[in-house]
C-alpha cells in the first residue's frame, strides 16, 4: 500500500509532461503559425464575408456549378448586390486569388486533399497574372 503515493506522484508527473504543449501554449499566449496566405492586392472585398467563405466556399462553388451547368445561370449576385461571373477560373482566380499562394497553401495546412476539379478546370488566369 505504500506504493500508492509513488504511483500517484508518477501519474501526476506523466500527465504534466504529456499535457505540457497544451498548458504551456495557453500560459504563454503563443499560437501555432497559420498558413502564409497571399491576399489579393487589387480587391479588398470578397464575394461574401471572409468567415462565410472560410466555412462554406466549397458549398458556394458547388452551387455555382449547379447554377451554370444545370440551370444555365452564369451569374452570381452577392449579398451586397454586386454581380459576378459564377466561375472559379474566371472570377476568383481570374481577378483576385492565386491558386498556388492562396488556395493550395490553406488546403495543404489543413490537410485537405486537392479536389479533382483540376483534372479539367485550369488556373491559367492566375498563373498568367503572377508572371506579368
Amino acid at each position: 500500500m505504500r506504493e500508492r503515493v509513488l504511483i500517484a506522484a508518477g501519474l501526476a508527473v506523466f500527465l504534466a509532461l504529456f499535457t505540457y504543449p497544451v498548458w504551456w501554449a495557453a500560459a504563454s499566449g503563443t499560437r501555432a503559425a497559420g498558413p502564409q496566405l497571399q491576399l489579393p492586392q487589387t480587391a479588398s472585398v470578397c464575394v461574401a464575408p471572409a468567415a462565410k467563405m472560410r466555412a462554406s466556399h466549397m458549398q458556394m462553388l458547388s452551387d455555382w456549378r449547379s447554377d451554370s451547368v444545370r440551370r444555365g445561370v452564369h451569374q452570381f449576385r452577392a449579398a451586397d448586390g454586386r454581380l459576378f461571373d459564377a466561375s472559379l477560373s474566371r472570377t476568383c482566380l481570374g481577378q483576385c486569388h492565386s491558386k498556388t499562394e492562396f488556395c493550395d497553401r490553406c488546403h495543404a495546412y489543413s490537410g485537405v486533399s486537392t479536389p479533382a476539379c483540376w483534372q479539367c478546370h485550369n488556373d491559367l488566369h492566375s498563373t498568367a497574372r503572377s508572371i506579368r
Binding site: 451547368v69 452564369h74 483534372q119
Partner: protein
C-alpha cells in the same frame, strides 16, 4: 353562433366559387406556358454551303471552335474528338445525291450536333449527364458523365466523341476561359452555351468569313434564321428518324 339554412348555403356557394375560380386561373396560366409562349428562345443554326469558302482553304469555324472549347488534336483517327467538322454532301445526304450535280455532291458541309427537339441520346443516359434544356440546347454535364457511351450509340449523327486518353496533352494552346475534359467522358458541340450566357453568338458563327452560318431563335418570327428558312429550301439530316434536328442545310 347560429347559422340559418340560407346563410349556410350562401357561405358554401361563395367558398366553392372562390376555390374553383383560382383553380381555373392557374390552369389557364399553365396551359399558356406549355404551348411554348413563355418567351424562351429555341436556338437553331442554318448552314448556307453556297457561301462557305472551303474552296479558298477556309477552316475558320473549326479553328474557332477548337480554341473556344479546348478540343484536343488526337493523332489516332479512331479516337478523334469532333465538335464541328466537315464531310462531303454525298455522305451527309446519301439519299438526295443520285442525279444531283457532282459540284454539289462533292461539296463539303459543316457538321455539328443537331440539338434535336426529340434527342435519342438524352433518353439513354443513365446518370442525367446529358439532357435537353428549355432553349433547345442538348447539354452535357461532364461532372456526371461516367463514360458508358450509350449516348454515342444512340446518336444517329455521330455527333459525340469519347476521350480515350487525357486530352490535356493534345491541346496546343489551352484557353483559360473553358475547362478541358478528362479521360473517360463523352463530349460534343454545346452550341456555345457559355457564350450565349454572356450574350455572345457561337464562336463558329462569329468567325465565319462568308457568313455561311446563320444562328438564331426559331421562336422569333423576325429572326434571321426564320427569314432564311422561309425564303430558301432547307434540308435536315435524316428527318425520317423523327429526331427533329435544329441544324438546317440551305440549298
Amino acid at each position: 353562433m347560429k347559422l340559418t339554412r340560407k346563410e349556410f348555403l350562401i357561405t358554401s356557394a361563395a367558398t366553392l366559387a372562390g376555390i374553383s375560380g383560382t383553380k381555373l386561373v392557374t390552369s389557364v396560366k399553365a396551359a399558356a406556358a406549355s404551348t411554348g409562349e413563355d418567351g424562351k428562345p429555341r436556338w437553331a443554326m442554318a448552314v448556307d454551303f453556297q457561301k462557305c469558302q472551303w474552296d479558298q482553304g477556309c477552316n475558320q469555324c473549326i479553328a474557332a471552335c477548337k480554341h473556344a472549347h479546348n478540343i484536343p488534336d488526337v493523332p489516332e483517327k479512331a479516337h478523334e474528338v469532333k465538335w464541328i467538322w466537315k464531310e462531303l454532301y454525298k455522305s451527309v445526304f446519301p439519299q438526295q445525291s443520285e442525279w444531283v450535280d457532282p459540284a454539289l455532291t462533292s461539296h463539303p458541309l459543316m457538321l455539328l450536333c443537331n440539338h434535336c427537339s426529340n434527342p435519342p441520346c438524352t433518353r439513354v443516359c443513365p446518370t442525367g449527364a446529358t439532357w435537353k434544356r428549355g432553349d433547345g440546347i442538348v447539354m452535357m454535364d461532364w461532372h456526371r458523365c461516367i463514360g458508358c457511351r450509350y449516348c454515342m450509340a444512340a446518336c444517329p449523327y455521330e455527333s459525340r466523341s469519347f476521350d480515350f486518353g487525357d486530352p490535356r496533352g493534345e491541346i496546343a494552346n489551352i484557353n483559360p476561359d473553358f475547362p478541358t475534359r478528362t479521360k473517360g467522358v463523352v463530349e460534343k458541340c454545346n452550341f456555345c452555351e457559355e457564350r450565349l450566357g454572356r450574350g455572345q453568338c457561337p464562336a463558329c458563327v462569329e468567325e465565319c468569313r462568308g457568313h455561311a452560318l446563320i444562328f438564331g431563335d426559331l421562336n422569333d418570327p423576325a429572326s434571321e434564321i426564320r427569314t432564311v428558312l422561309r425564303s430558301r429550301y432547307a434540308m435536315q439530316r435524316s428527318p425520317e428518324l423523327g429526331t427533329g434536328p435544329s441544324v438546317f442545310y440551305l440549298l
